[in-house]
């Protein structure tokens, strides 16, 4: 099916070329702002928008998103890496969280707005005692603090059960501990629950598999490739009525 990858008529990565070819004009007017602004501009003239196609390809050693922004020690990082791998493991179908750099994604998210709850209502009073699950997030703890507590608890549980650190355990031992977390059979030493932490970890893991690679995960767009998701494309107008599945090489945001 790979011969069909250009069926949507978009051969070039640049939005400028797309606009010229797409007939997106009404009475000679160019419609579409982000695109209209690009037409007529020479490649690379003023806006950094027109970077080289395929600029994403990086070798592992020089991958800048492998620097840590949140975790301050190897053990915390390894704990999250191991836990994420159990949530989204490597299988015959394709790579798992570890090979997709999901732990780096989680690290970056914990260091930013999401980890710090900057866009959430975090004013008190906090009434954990009055809360029911259906009414959602009700702890004063920020997400990065919940992760800290969760990591601690993963390791102390591993220590208690197997006298080892979490990331040193066998896969099925890790899975058993994570199941206990999901079912709230473990108590976290703070104003949150193990299942809360597990929920955040699961959510962040899935995001790290499938978010644009610029966030540090989804390495080489391998998450998208597994799912046959084409990433960031300009248009599916030409395939929308097709009955057969159209396979396309995915594009990341850095390729436009």
């Amino acid at each position: 099916m790979s011969d069909k990858k250009n069926q949507n008529g978009v051969q070039d990565n640049s939005r400028r070329v797309f606009l010229k070819n797409s007939g997106l004009t009404v009475g000679g007017l160019i419609v579409g702002g982000a695109l209209g602004g690009l037409i007529g501009k020479k490649p690379g003239s003023s806006k950094p928008a027109s970077t080289e196609p395929g600029g994403h390809q990086m070798s592992n050693s020089s991958n800048p998103s492998r620097a840590l922004m949140y975790f301050t020690n190897q053990e915390d990082f390894s704990t999250i890496e191991a836990a994420a791998e159990q949530i989204f493991p490597k299988t015959d179908v394709g790579p798992g969280a570890k090979d997709l750099d999901v732990a780096y994604y989680i690290d970056h998210q914990l260091a930013g707005n999401w980890g710090l709850n900057t866009k959430e209502y975090m004013s008190g009073p906090f009434s954990l005692a009055d809360s029911v699950p259906e009414l959602g997030y009700q702890t004063h703890l920020k997400r990065h603090e919940i992760f800290d507590l969760g990591i601690q608890a993963l390791n102390s549980t591993a220590q208690k059960k197997h006298k080892k650190k979490f990331h040193e355990l066998e896969g099925d031992q890790q899975v058993a501990i994570l199941k206990d977390f999901e079912a709230d059979k473990v108590k976290l030493n703070g104003a949150t629950s193990a299942s809360n932490f597990f929920g955040l970890l699961r959510k962040a893991t899935i995001e790290g598999v499938y978010a644009d690679p610029m966030y540090g995960g989804n390495k080489d767009m391998a998450g998208w490739k597994m799912k046959n998701f084409p990433g960031h494309q300009m248009s599916y107008k030409d395939i929308i009525e097709k009955d057969s599945f159209v396979k396309m090489d995915p594009k990341s945001l850095s390729s436009m």
């Binding site: 959430e120 699961r202 799912k227």
Partner: protein
């Protein structure tokens, strides 16, 4: 001390669809309009990197900053309400164009039945059909009276669609042809027809073709890019206030837009508003904008909040049933949808916000409710908005939600999942209502809105019935496995997105004792305050709200002009 600014004819509190329509209609007539918008300005130029699922869909780039303002929620009068701390069940817009920027564009008008729901229910089934505590009432306007305004909204935004083949359903003339039909839509239409239902293409504000509207605004056709709901349209193909009505207002020279301006209160004395108090969030300074007419166009929930905090109208009391502000809050019964898993792969990543097919055989009163223990129903639909990979990881029931089995199934079915949704109507109840929270405050120290809301038996019965229908359609479509919806429903759960179709709270009607607004959307208790958001809906239908919000905004614009000419109450 707040600084007083020179008086204008009209000030709008918020600049989304309602604020935009009011601005374009009244500036065209020569009136001076000031638009106050709490968020920032934006245009299609700002969507350079908009196809970013994490930033826009998961991290809510275009939504209200909850750290400044949210609502509190409880399930019943006895509970303590707790803040809605992170986004889940519904999302409020922020910035120029409001939610009109990141909506899908699924555009309907409510049914004739909706506007006279009380009378028609009694007429068809008798008074006993209405359970104790259900506070449905007629809207004080009929579908036919609203039709011209609806047509104005259809033409302005260029709605693409085809006639509804269901006998007795209202017929609209759509200005542009229907959207392209995908193979999933065809599958749905064929299966539904075989079952004797009446499918048709979803009416869409994502233009099916290049279009120039009566205001001479030209826009290009939709590219089916799959990044529509929660995103802005880089092509301007999706009708939003920024690419339709606001340029019209600006061109008149009569419009003044002030962004970063949060309105805290409407100032009034002796039954008339004098203006609004607002804060410039960049300088921190307070201003009073005086105006002949104040339009509350800050979205349903915020409109109710501002009315309550401004002491406009009589607050509703759920114990006595007296008062009107906060009354008849309703939502959408969205749990009757089902998900089908197919052997064949579909191009599920492609789509547009309002691309899909639907049927009304189980909506309104198109089917007999004599033996059913609910009223109204749902628009049943397949939406093809483009499945993005973080948000869509459906697996057949019984599959674990993480680990090897989950991973392999979520990938296997990534392009083999089709959902049939049911957008169920939500009825108002005496104890589902809005008031001010006694504890929690916004960034300015004003009380938050407190929502008291839970599902009732009517909702559960409706959801169960719809689950059977949607699962039935998926089986007919050839799904190998179906997760049937609506079978087990607990308390209202705010953690999962359902829909931003919050309605009611200051409803329109024919009687000042039982409604907050007359049928020109003018406040009974304050004749120069108008409000045309979904807060005016007496209940919520089995459709998305914005077509009706748009129509009511055109109706309000006409009312405001009448008021400015002759004053007084228009009803």
């Amino acid at each position: 001390m707040a600084k007083k600014l020179p008086k204008t004819d009209i000030v709008t509190v918020g600049v989304g669809w309602v604020g935009g329509i009011i601005a374009s209609e009244l500036t065209k007539k020569g009136y001076k309009v000031v638009g106050l918008e709490r968020g920032k300005s934006r245009s299609t130029q700002d969507y350079l990197k908009v196809h970013d699922e994490l930033r826009y869909a998961q991290r809510y780039e275009l939504m209200q900053d909850l750290s400044r303002e949210t609502v509190t929620i409880r399930h019943n009068l006895k509970q303590k309400a707790l803040p809605y701390r992170e986004w889940g069940s519904f999302l409020f817009g922020d910035g120029l164009g409001g939610s009109g920027v990141h909506w899908n564009g699924q555009t309907y008008l409510f049914l004739p039945y909706d506007f006279e729901i009380y009378s028609k229910t009694v007429e068809h089934y008798g008074k006993n059909k209405i359970p104790k505590g259900m506070t449905i009432q007629d809207w004080g306007i009929t579908h036919d009276e609203l039709l011209p305004y609806y047509n104005q909204f259809l033409k302005m935004s260029g709605i693409s669609g085809e006639p509804n083949p269901l006998k007795g359903s209202p017929q609209y003339k759509y200005p542009t042809k229907p959207m392209l039909e995908s193979s999933e839509m065809k599958l749905f239409k064929d299966a539904a027809s075989k079952l004797g239902y009446h499918p048709y293409s979803m009416p869409s504000a994502n233009l099916s073709e290049n279009y120039t509207n009566p205001d001479n605004i030209s826009r290009g056709a939709c590219q089916y890019c799959g990044f529509c709901e929660r995103f802005g349209c880089e092509y301007g193909a999706k009708a939003d206030p920024v690419v339709t009505v606001l340029p019209v207002a600006e061109k008149t020279g009569k419009y003044e837009l002030r962004t970063h301006s949060v309105v805290r209160k409407v100032l009034h004395s002796g039954g008339k508003a004098t203006g609004v108090l607002y804060v410039d969030t960049r300088t921190g300074e307070e201003y009073i904008q005086e105006a002949e007419v104040v339009v509350l166009s800050a979205y349903q929930m915020n409109n109710v909040k501002i009315m309550l905090n401004s002491k406009l109208g009589k607050p509703y009391d759920p114990k006595t049933g007296q008062g009107v502000i906060g009354k008849n809050y309703a939502y959408q019964v969205n749990f009757g949808g089902s998900t089908g898993f197919f052997d064949k792969e579909y191009n599920v990543f492609a789509g547009a916000g309002a691309l899909g097919a639907n049927l009304d055989d189980f909506n309104g009163d198109f089917f007999d409710h004599s033996d059913l223990n609910f009223i109204h129903g749902a628009n049943v639909r397949i939406g093809k908005s483009g499945n993005r990979p973080i948000q869509n990881n459906a697996v057949p029931a019984g599959t674990p939600s993480w680990g090897k089995e989950f991973k392999d199934a979520s990938i296997k079915y990534a392009n083999r999942t089709i959902s049939v949704g049911a957008q169920g109507a939500s009825m108002p109840w005496a104890d589902n209502y809005l008031d001010l929270d006694p504890t929690y405050k916004d960034a300015f120290g004003d009380p938050l809105v407190r929502m008291t809301f839970n599902w009732k038996d009517q909702d559960k019965q409706l959801g169960k019935y719809l689950g059977e229908k949607t699962a039935g359609i998926l089986k007919e479509m050839g799904a190998s496995k179906v997760n049937q919806g609506g079978q087990k429903v607990g308390d209202y759960d705010i953690r999962n997105y359902q829909s931003t179709h919050n309605t009611g709270g200051s409803i329109m009607g024919a009687d000042p004792e039982t409604s907050a607004l007359n049928n020109y959307l003018q406040m009974w208790d304050c004749e120069n305050v108008f409000s045309a958001g979904a807060n005016a809906f007496g209940h919520n239908s089995g459709y998305n709200p914005t077509g009706t919000v748009g129509a009511l905004a055109y109706r309000a614009a006409e009312g405001i002009e009448k008021y400015l000419k002759k004053g007084g109450s228009l009803a």
